[in-house]
Symmetry: C2
Subunit: 548 residues, 2 copies
């Protein structure tokens, strides 16, 4: 807790200040925009950017993580609350805070129980598919606001403003940083400059509203933003604890996954160490804080954290400075915020989520492992077809499905001896000799419930193909673990082979695996021997060897 | 299909006939009893024992599997239908058949899609916990019928009959087979004799009903059993497809798991080979057949199949004989079946499920692997606390949870050289020498999304403990696979180490792993080299070696 503060050095200050200012300028439009995605008034997004990062700075372990509203979590908030209340009503805002509270409590509980390993239930391809699906859902959801009307009808002044903002943002994204670099701006500064374009576009569009009288033309704006800091209070609807519980579990899980995947990338760059259990507590505290200060579920945002990092953030002081600046913005006159045109905000959201449509993972997986590529595409399709909440469940199911599917086809080799040596190799890859009545099988996978059946089937096939087999030697050099299911399977295999008059032998059992097997009855009951090496098994069991 | 019939030999006939007769005598009370567990009239249990085994014999692959009503599947049927209709009503019977139809279609679809690997989602300890929890739920559910009333009040004549039957059954179970053996009966015959005690007890109790006038005393009986064969028809309520879909998925999954776990044990004893995809189709056809002939969801029963096997069944002809005998029983006068007293049937159910309360798996897991033991107990508790349907989900979650938890703590060793040799061993276990600036790490697990974070953390820890490290060598001799998530993690590790001026090298990469890595950009971008052996890496990278 506050480890970074105890080791603070003065040299860290300039970087923290510049990052704090830059992120604050990025946060104002982004926070308001993501509040809109969550179905809330824009000011809630500012509220959710003040207290949460302060609490995360107290309890979290990443030094550069920027905690606050985030597109996917806002989408999940909206889709969780949609069946319970109408967006824009006081009940909806209450439930959003209550959802943050419950998600925060879920995260705190997971942190106290030290079950940070739950982040490992999502494979990276599945996470990528989830992000792609969510981005598309968010972008499609912003089309009406961008065009100022319900599709297919559109409101021309709104559409011009929205599409104009979109074109400027897209052009800036692809052209500004290279142009700045070409005129001699350092590449870090150029990149940061490009990140501030959304703020500039929103400000420009806001100026246009009174200048061109856009409100009179029917362009919608954010409307009055209440001045002053958020008031601490616990808003909760007591009839809604139960229906919010499942959404809170799913959102809490995604808050943790999204935050960890971003923070890990940054931590790796600076050789920092994250502690997943403290991250759970930091994110839990941040969400409880968001709930108590008029906010909604928040998490670490990879895009904002990357800007924070690039702009020089050395410690969480940068986030504290951002929070202080946002608080100042609320204390200062907020009248101008009321004029922010919604089509321009929608354009910033669309451009932000388009940036999340990364196809690198898909392309890599496609070349490297089609099962992972299929899981990625299926997760994206699941989010699009079934919604973002079901998408989380689909993602876990597909991560596990790909794992078990792969496990269900383990690599197993029949070994033979390279003549004149003590080396044993796959008879299909090498010209190796086998001995009559002796079958050597090497299983290249840990033995567990996911592959015991496949291993059994393969053994049965090999025995059927060699009816004269008298000794089966399982070479366990590649077996890192044997779980209880596999232990039972081995015991049953042993019994079966005994009744068929075939010896079951184990060779090259690894130390930790052997230590564990000694806790079971298998070794005592083994209808055969334990050999240190395959060569020893060969010498003892092959009839040729015996006759020499 | 019918492979067994094409290879039928006359010598198989006596065994098939004796098994067919024995199982039919076991099936009559069991089928009726499990129909009661499912909330259906007893005759439905006989119906569900005629057509399903015939269809399974046509499409399934196990030669000795006895398909029909089974306790856990009946419990799941009852708990799925409870919210939709009242037991005993025509709608309830219709929905039971519809559930069998949907479950059958789910199984057929899984078979056509060839996804038999889904059986691998349950670990053996979790299956044991699920069975224990379900057995307790079933036994408790039979107490009112056993005692003839709602607890705590009981109906004395019923209770005497029920408890009396229970005592006889329990005594027979533990004493009869040993006594028979002692007087010289062969042990197989003695065991089969003991299995027929339920039929004898039910018959004896049925005789007592008219003799003692028990009906007049208020003892409940099965009531009129309609004579005649089941009529083929499709009963379905069109408003109930949707609410039955999720139960059908869960029941279909458990039908497959329960049947496979029993069939595998028997197949192993005879060196038969099961094909999981054909099993899905056989069980699917059996359930569709059950639905069309007035039955309810059915599966292979391990206890009945074991009797079938022990009584000499050589092929599915035994099951066909059983089905024919049950059909005959329905064509013969069925008046006497109406007098079967429910307390005696409840006693047979309780004794049957007590036989499923096997603690061997728990005791083995407790000694061998506490995580598996905890998963077993938690699954049993989940079934008791949340119900049998939620228990399936809990079981899958715990199987996967134990897997990911274990994966999240991979065994990683820092290697050193055994002086004067080319052998490298864990420095914590052996006195081995290390070289300045060179860190050799051996990861004893396949690299995948479940452990990449733990591996990263460990690498970071080891580098932090050795700030002078210039070269990190990952020794991958125990790595059987690297998935896409781990590929990305290695690429990021490579980038990070490059910026810190540390080389990343790979040694002893297995053939299949290397083949796959060549499909990625990792090897081209590697900030270091690929070494065939750890000794070669040592020679190239250790400063000592270089000076020689």
């Amino acid at each position: 807790m506050l480890h970074w503060l105890r080791h603070y050095r003065r040299a860290m200050l300039p970087g923290d200040i510049s990052a704090g200012v830059v992120v604050a300028m990025m946060m104002i439009p982004q926070g308001m925009a993501y509040a809109l995605v969550a179905g809330l008034p824009p000011v809630a997004g500012i509220y959710a950017s003040i207290v949460p990062p302060v609490l995360y700075a107290l309890f979290g372990t990443s030094r550069t993580q920027s905690v606050g509203p985030m597109a996917i979590v806002s989408l999940m908030t909206a889709s969780s609350l949609a069946p319970l209340a109408a967006a824009g009503t006081p009940l909806y805002a209450t439930l959003a805070a209550q959802l943050a509270l419950l998600s925060g409590l879920v995260l705190l509980a997971c942190g106290m129980l030290r079950i940070g390993f739950i982040a490992n239930f999502f494979s990276r391809p599945v996470m990528s598919g989830f992000t792609i699906g969510s981005s598309i859902v968010i972008a499609l959801g912003q089309l009406p606001a961008l065009l100022g009307a319900s599709l297919p009808a559109l409101h021309l002044p709104s559409a011009i403003l929205g599409l104009g903002s979109l074109v400027i943002l897209l052009a800036a994204r692809s052209l500004l940083a290279p142009q700045l670099r070409r005129i001699g701006v350092g590449s870090v500064v150029a990149d940061i400059g490009a990140k501030l374009v959304p703020m500039a576009v929103v400000l420009g569009a806001t100026v246009l509203v009174p200048v061109l009288g856009l409100e009179g033309l029917g362009v919608r704006t954010t409307g009055t933003v209440p001045a002053g800091l958020p008031v601490f209070h616990l808003a909760a609807s007591f009839g809604h604890w139960q229906p919010l519980l499942q959404p809170a579990l799913l959102i809490g899980f995604m808050i943790f996954l999204i935050s960890m995947s971003g923070a890990q990338t940054l931590a790796l760059k600076r050789a920092e160490k994250l502690h997943s259990n403290y991250e759970l507590i930091g994110l839990g505290a941040a969400n409880v804080g968001s709930a108590l200060s008029g906010g909604f579920p928040v998490t670490g945002s990879i895009s904002r954290s990357a800007v924070n990092f690039a702009a020089g953030a050395n410690t969480q002081l940068a986030s504290l400075i951002t929070a202080a600046l946002l608080a100042l913005a609320l204390v200062a006159p907020t009248g101008w915020l009321a004029l922010l045109p919604l089509p321009a905000l929608a354009a910033t959201i669309i451009v932000a989520v388009l940036g999340m449509l990364d196809t690198t993972t898909l392309r890599t997986a496609w070349r490297y492992d089609r099962v992972d590529a299929a899981a990625l595409l299926a997760t994206a399709a699941g989010v699009l077809a079934l919604g973002v909440e079901a998408g989380v469940v689909v993602g876990v199911a597909l991560s596990m499905g790909a794992l078990i599917w792969r496990a269900s086809r383990p690599h197993i080799a029949v070994l033979g001896r390279i003549p004149g040596t003590e080396h044993f190799r796959n008879v299909e890859r090498y010209s190796a000799e086998t001995a009559a009545g002796l079958l050597l099988l090497r299983v290249d996978a840990g033995l567990f419930f996911g592959n015991v059946e496949a291993v059994n089937e393969r053994i049965e096939d090999e025995l059927a193909a060699r009816p004269d087999t008298r000794h089966l030697v399982l070479v366990l050099s590649a077996v890192n673990a044997i779980d209880t299911s596999a232990l039972f399977a081995l015991a049953e295999l042993n019994t079966m082979l005994r009744t068929r008059g075939i010896g079951l032998h184990l060779a090259e059992v690894k130390g930790p695996v052997l230590d564990r097997l000694k806790q079971s009855a298998l070794l005592d009951e083994l209808n055969g021997k334990l050999f240190l090496s395959t060569a020893m098994a060969w010498d003892a069991l092959s009839p040729n060897a015996r006759t020499h």
